[in-house]
Amino acid sequence: MSVTEILFWFLSVLALGSAIMVVASKSPVHSILFLILTFFAISGHYILLNAQFLAIVNIIVYAGAIMVLFLFVVMLMNLNAESEPPQKNKYLLYGGTIAGASLLLVLVAALKQSATGGGMIETNNGSTGLIENLGKLLFTDYVFPFEISSVLFLSAMIGAVVISKREG
């Protein structure tokens, strides 16, 4: 077993375990912290796939900006395990879990039968995901969507301000 295989299994177990804890933990703050751990594990997978640009962007944007925003909102509302709305309908709890597990089972079974998934991914090589290549591509071929995304951010900012300013 090589080092990359050990790292792959370690990061997969970390991502899946903390993703389960996001759903299972009572306190919203613990959920957010486990979600940050999941994002770090996914960033580790990006590094194994040699997509360094996306790994860094994932850490900065997701684990850095978005999750701090979530944490800020949860602490603003002073939510904890006591104020958590309980799931009173037990059938919904079991039904939702069984439905999600069945979805996983069906998708895995379908992919096991398909002939597409025979490729091997060589980790730790290739230069596609480096900042040099992606930056060049982003400012030549994809410069128009890049500029449009700034308009999207502006409208999202104005929308968030308008929604939270409105007096009920």
């Binding site: 979805l103 992919l111 596609t128 969507p145 999202a156 929308g159």
Partner: protein
């Protein structure tokens, strides 16, 4: 690593997100589960981009998928800011983050 492993990992993360959306009642946790599903899709896109880089002999093969993942992250950031503003306003009106309070749209 066979690409199958990455597919199964992304599927498991996605289904955990689905279970969270279906079973939890806290609006913020439902929102976080949606982020988890977006990240599962991103992981799958990066894995397939890597596969395309190896099988194609073009120099820039597979770059498109990584640019696509970058734009998914951009849209997710905008979505989170608006969604959290909506949740904050809902909390101000009902003093709860329980989504079952929103089962009727009037009042």
């Amino acid at each position: 690593m066979p690409v199958n492993y990455y597919i199964f990992l992304a599927l498991a993360l996605f289904c955990i997100g689905v279970i969270g959306v279906l079973t939890r009642r806290n609006a913020i946790i439902i929102f976080m589960c949606i982020e988890l599903m977006l990240n599962a899709a991103n992981l799958l896109l990066v894995a397939f981009s890597k596969l395309q880089t190896q099988t194609s002999n073009l120099a820039t093969a597979g770059s498109d998928a990584q640019i696509f993942v970058f734009f998914i992250m951009v849209v997710a950031a905008a979505e989170v800011s608006v969604g959290l503003a909506i949740i904050v306003m809902m909390y101000r009106n009902t003093h709860s983050v329980d989504v079952n309070f929103l089962n009727r749209l009037k009042n």
